[in-house]
Amino acid sequence: MQNIYKLILLRKKQIAFVSAAAALLTLIAMPFVVTKIYYIHVLILCMMFSCITSAWNLIAGYAGVFSFGFQALFGTGAYVSALLSIHFGWSPWITMWMGAAAAMAVGALVAIPSLKLKELPYICIATLCMGEIIRLIASNFPELTRGELGLSQIPKLFQDNIKVKSYYLMLVILVVTLMIVVKIVHSPMGMSLKAMRDSQEASESLGINIAGTKIRIYMVGAFIAGFTGAFYAHYMNILTPTSVLGTALMTQYVAMCLIGGIGTIAGPILGSFTITASLELLRKLEDYRLIIYALLIIVTIIFLRDGIWGTFKSLIIARAEKHQNRNIKKETIV
């Protein structure tokens, strides 16, 4: 037993890497294993949410900017890309980048004013309002966006075998996203982010340029969200303001992030997969579905306040360290 713990402590990185690789391989293998296209579809949704949630986690969990308007960036990416490809007939492969860029710009617009706000709820609500405003703009210009009826007939990315191809594209997006996130978290910037999250003043005294870092992070997150949104638009081929800009989406990614474990890398992904999958699988419960879903959230958060992954991690590490300490003590005694 102790050896295992020792192993965990010493080989943290390697273990993480191996498990990540294993997960990746399983995901790659999935389409060959799973025959039902519906399951592929669900997996795509899972991965898509993983992207958004990871991006949000980067902003909220590491930078400590709890933006409740993040769905607006996703939506912006989706709408911009869709509109460009519809009205100008440009290839989605190009417009996706434009969508992401647009989202990035909006992200900057959202980030800059909300930096004036120190306290958590102020940031939450201010960003929420911005998100809502963007939603209202989208739904109040029916000439352009077709309003609540939604944009349909959005050009597809693939013409045949759509699901499987989209699946692999999404997988690529997810992997890239994670690489970016990991890179940022392990960079000096990431360290300063943690400092920032844990105490504004401290990091100020550490001489971290909060505003600059936050904006940069926010824009990275915005780009990821926007790109994912653009993918979504061309995958689903339908957009409505409420579905891609609405607060329901916000509730989902916040829930996923916290259920999975905010401030961790694996947490959001775990959360996204758990919640998306369970939401789909719970369909068997018919009209009790959402009740059970809510209960799941509540129970999880009561018993695992740091989220599934957060708790798991802290458990293992704590255990391992305790053992180590004990061993050290023993050695000193002997």
Binding site: K36, I37, Y38, H41, V42, L45, S139, N140, P142, R146, G147, E148, L149, G150, S152, Q153, I162, Y232, M236, N237, I238, T240, T242, S243, V244, A248, T274, A277, S278, E280, L281, L282, R283, K284, E286, D287, R289, L290, L296, V299, T300, F303, L304, I308, T311, F312, L315, A318
Partner: protein, 442 residues
């Protein structure tokens, strides 16, 4: 520490069991498609486990907003569908190629959001292997589903009471792509037309005063709402030689605070105020609040008065209100009244409205089409037969145009207007259907 460990394990096992359980039930559900009723003779060979003949059972799927702001409509549809399926199965199921088949209904919730409705439709087709999909009573969701219909040519897609014009335009552009998608209902432009004619007729009769030709609109923020305004303006142009829109207020669906709007209108003083809401609460709130503040315009309501409980909840406030379309006359049409009784018999506290009947008829139309076509596969002719049907129902005659939309006309689906007279609905327009004279409001 231990608590957390146990909780973690508990959670994991729970999720695992969920996945397992559902996977299992998926297996069983595909298994049921093989089981056959005694009457089916040769069909139930292992090879015939495909959609074409599901060996004794024909599966219908429905994508409906069973939760969220539109749950009222969604659940109404679900009840209508269930009623029809139960009835048909009691009467021995439906006949196809000399065999009789039982119907099996799968209703799924999309929360009223188009992207979910696509997922759900995919699920119904892929997992439950349904051969017909009732693709939502919300235009936006139906449009979303419409976009995947060419990926499943074996499945027949048909909507329930969607009124958006966009179906017609899209289908008209590319008929063969949407060969298996139908919309057995009229368009909001038809609403508009009716509105225009009604106004013209009433002002001619001197029932309403439309001299200034000023109209104010309050519509909900849905496609139906927004497009209805345009349709009405166009129709007024056509039948009344133009009108001026003094205000077009778009409110979020289900909103219930109209004091500001009403007050605004009092200053603008329009001849007619048109209100379009699907949820009952908005309608009730508006009616009560207008009555409270007092107005000197004519109110013409769309859709909401037909929802169960409108008269009870508004009381005297709704007296004299004109409204259309009187989709179903549950009060003076015996057959429809009988249908209402059937609904209440099965769902004692149902909120009866037109959706019940439309979805109910939807099932019968499809089953007839299946019998006629001799197949439940859209590609093998079900779609064609369904599209070619001329279906006489207790609530009008369903005939599809080349854009796969039902025709609205006095001979087919009539859009009639009613007025609340002494707390009862009386059809006052068009003349050949009216059994009561319109009277001046207030």
């Amino acid at each position: 520490m231990m608590k957390k460990v146990t909780a973690l394990c508990l959670l994991l096992t729970l999720t695992a069991s969920l996945c397992g359980g559902c996977a299992g039930s998926v297996a069983t559900s595909s298994g049921t498609s093989a089981e056959s009723t005694g009457t089916s003779t040769t069909q139930s060979s292992p090879g015939s486990e495909q959609k074409t003949t599901a060996g004794g059972i024909i599966k219908l799927g429905a994508v409906l907003p069973l939760s969220g702001a539109s749950a009222e409509s969604g659940i109404a549809c679900q009840q209508g569908l269930e009623l029809a399926v139960a009835e048909i199965n009691q009467n021995g199921g439906i006949e196809m190629n000399g065999d009789t088949y039982q119907l099996k209904l799968y209703c799924e919730d999309d929360g009223g959001s188009p992207d979910q409705s696509v997922s759900v439709a995919t699920k119904l087709i892929e997992m439950d292997e349904v051969s017909v999909v009732y693709s939502s009573c919300l235009s936006s969701c139906a449009l979303a589903i419409m976009d995947i219909c060419d990926q499943y040519p074996d499945v027949l897609f048909t909507t329930i009471e969607c009124t958006s014009d966009n179906f017609s335009t899209i289908i008209a552009q590319n008929t063969e792509r949407y060969v298996n998608f139908y919309k057995p209902y009229y368009n909001s432009s038809d609403y508009g037309a009716a509105f225009g004619e009604l106004i013209a007729d009433l002002s001619e009769k001197g029932v309403i005063d439309f001299t200034n030709k000023t109209v104010a609109y309050i519509v909900e923020d849905t496609d139906a709402g927004r497009s209805c305004v345009k349709a009405c303006e166009a129709a007024l142009e056509k039948f009344c030689g133009g009108s001026t829109t003094v205000a077009a207020e778009v409110v979020t669906q289900g909103s219930t605070d109209f004091y500001s709007q009403i007050n605004k209108f009092k200053a603008l003083n329009p001849d007619v105020v048109m209100t379009f809401f699907v949820p009952l609460n908005s309608g009730v709130a508006y009616t009560k609040q207008v009555d409270e503040i007092g107005s000197d315009w004519v109110d013409i309501a769309f859709v909401y008065p037909l929802k169960a409980g409108f008269v009870e909840q508004t009381g005297a406030a709704c007296e004299g209100l004109f409204w259309l379309p009187m989709q179903v006359d549950f009060w003076n049409n015996e057959e429809c009244a009988a249908f209402a009784d059937k609904v209440y018999e099965m769902f004692p506290n149902a909120g009866l409205n037109a959706m019940h009947l439309s979805s109910y008829l939807g099932v019968y139309m499809v089953s007839d089409a299946i019998t006629q076509a001799g197949t439940n596969n859209a590609r093998d002719g079900l779609a064609k037969t369904y599209g070619a049907m001329d279906y006489q129902t207790i609530n009008g005659r369903y005939v599809f145009k080349e854009d796969h939309t039902a025709i609205a006309s006095p001979e087919h689906l009539v859009i009639s207007a009613a007025q609340v007279q002494n707390g009862e609905y009386k059809v006052v327009w068009p003349a050949n259907f009216a059994y009561a004279e319109p009277v001046a409001q207030k």
